[in-house]
């Protein structure tokens, strides 16, 4: 099959379209998360989405409609646990993450009927994305991108030096909550693409690759977005032609870019 025929498949077009949006928001948010040493929040929230998807399947509601609010609540919970209960951020992520997984496993065990559906979310499959999921992905991605655009300098300042940001009147608590809520939305959108197990890679890899190459924050954001976008497009293409799992292929392409960036930095 040639590339032109490949591009004419509607499921490929849908995957490219939704994947491009999700790739860009993952990389943009990922940069803030990596620089705040919050990379693993994506991992924790994806585990919560496992529990939420199980709940959706259990009560017979479209899983994403449960996962979106549940993961957003969990993201705020992570912030509040680390603030109020004097628990380190990584431990707070661990607590919420474990509860999410445990809840999902218990629901899967007592339902005895939807294990196959649930486990398909573990590794995702963007080639099987539905029209509803494409529309949902695009709308929510536009929301996330708009928030990043309007709060760009607030996010930048609070990430660079939170204490100083406060002295310039920036409400850093609000910005931190906003960032985790956006991350929650992004994680749920990414689950369909690469699956629960690999979501954090989409947030982390483009960002750390860009950090090897960039000579400025804006440049880093542009590089991360481009690498993420190219990785998704190449990942979908390679996975189709080589008959490989799509999510895992996208992550491996991202990882190859990261390796190349390190080599480039060493040489130049």
């Amino acid at each position: 099959m040639d590339l032109l025929t490949f591009l004419q498949y509607s499921f490929i077009q849908k995957a490219f379209f939704a994947g491009s949006f999700v790739a860009v928001i993952c990389s943009a948010l990922g940069l803030f998360l990596v620089l705040r040493k919050m990379s693993l929040i994506g991992d924790g929230l994806s585990h919560v989405s496992f529990g939420a998807i199980a709940l959706g399947l259990f009560i017979g509601i479209y899983p994403f409609y449960i996962a979106i609010p549940a993961v957003m609540i969990a993201s705020v919970l992570i912030l509040k646990i680390s603030e109020k209960a004097k628990v380190y951020g990584d431990a707070a992520i661990g607590i919420v993450s474990a509860v999410g997984i445990a809840g999902g496993v218990i629901l899967a065990s007592i339902s005895k009927g939807f294990n196959v559906d649930l486990f398909s979310y573990l590794f995702g499959n963007i080639l099987a994305i539905s029209n509803t999921e494409v529309i949902l992905s695009v709308i929510l991605s536009v929301v996330v991108l708009a928030v990043i655009y309007f709060f760009y300098w607030d996010l930048f300042s609070a990430t660079f030096d939170e204490e100083y940001a406060k002295t310039t009147g920036i409400k850093t608590n609000f910005i931190n909550t906003l960032l985790t809520l956006l991350t929650a939305l992004t994680v749920v959108l990414s689950v369909k693409m690469v699956g629960i197990m690999l979501v954090s890679a989409l947030l982390i890899l483009p960002a750390v690759t860009a950090l090897q190459l960039a000579k400025g924050f804006k440049t880093a954001m542009i590089i991360a977005s481009l690498i993420s976008l190219i990785s998704v497009l190449l990942g979908i293409t390679f996975s189709f032609f080589l008959d490989l799992p799509t999510g895992a292929t996208i992550v491996m392409v991202n990882a190859i870019f990261f390796g190349l960036a390190i080599v480039y930095k060493k040489i130049f």
Binding site: W153, Y164, T167, G216
Partner: protein
């Protein structure tokens, strides 16, 4: 001539849990003052400044900034702040000097914050004034301690502040850089009339630059002119002759 009070605290108390960090601290800093804020380690110097800036809550007393109670104050662009340690800034952060200095303008922006050509010109002018235009496109993490400090000074200056607050600015500097950095601050104070508050635990050199001394050790020990401090019998008996001499020997 009536002096305008820039910062005033009245009976200020700050607690960390059950521990009293500041006790009944009252003083008023006037426009044009160069105040050395000194005291031993753990005396509450940084706590005092952070409370004034709203980074820490007070447990009692009042703070007024430019004649307004802190709760009603929102002109943060009037205050330029240079925090204690450059190390609090993420070393991996890929920010250029220009991007860092832009952050100093955010206090003047509404929502959404937009940086326009006029702002970038202001950044250029500030970098030029400090003689570091060549660092504009360089990443902060690639600069020396002294250069980083100058970029952060540019960030504090870019909003045309009326008061500059420095928290141990010499920590990252070698003696030569420290000398030129303090001369620069003194120039800003004398030529532009910018009020300066400079925190230091090293009192041996502050008298060279400051005209007032604010000495705290949880509570206020002394606030007033440096010359009065050096002539004070009361301070002599508090500090001892040797310590008072150390603080005063470089003050003209």
């Amino acid at each position: 001539m009536i002096m305008q009070t820039i910062i005033e605290t009245k009976n200020l108390f700050v607690h960390y849990g059950q521990t009293e960090a500041l006790k009944n601290v009252s003083f008023a800093i006037d426009r044009g003052d160069f105040v050395g804020l000194a005291g031993p380690n753990g005396a509450g110097k940084t706590t005092l400044i952070k409370t004034i800036l709203g980074l820490l809550p007070s447990s009692g007393g009042q703070i007024e900034l430019f004649g307004k109670s802190k709760a009603n104050f929102n002109e943060w662009g009037k205050i330029g702040y240079l925090p204690q340690k450059i190390s609090t800034i993420n070393a991996l952060f890929p920010a250029t000097s220009e991007e860092v200095v832009v952050l100093g303008l955010l206090s003047q922006k509404g929502f959404p914050k937009r940086i326009i050509a006029r702002d970038l010109k202001k950044v250029d002018d500030t970098l030029k004034e400090l003689g570091i235009s060549n660092l504009k496109k360089k990443m902060l993490s690639e600069l020396s301690g002294g250069q980083q400090q100058k970029v952060l000074l540019a960030r504090a200056l870019v909003s045309d502040p009326e008061i500059l607050i420095f928290d141990e600015p010499s920590t990252a500097l070698d003696p030569e850089s420290r000398e030129s950095f303090f001369q620069l601050i003194q120039k800003l104070n004398k030529q532009k009339g910018i009020t300066v508050v400079l925190i230091t635990h090293d009192t041996s050199y502050i008298g060279q630059y400051a005209n007032k001394l604010l000495y705290i050790d949880k509570s206020l020990i002394y606030f007033g002119k440096f010359s009065d401090f050096c002539a004070s019998e009361k301070m002599n008996s508090y500090f001892g002759k040797y310590e008072q001499h150390i603080i005063c020997h470089q003050h003209n």
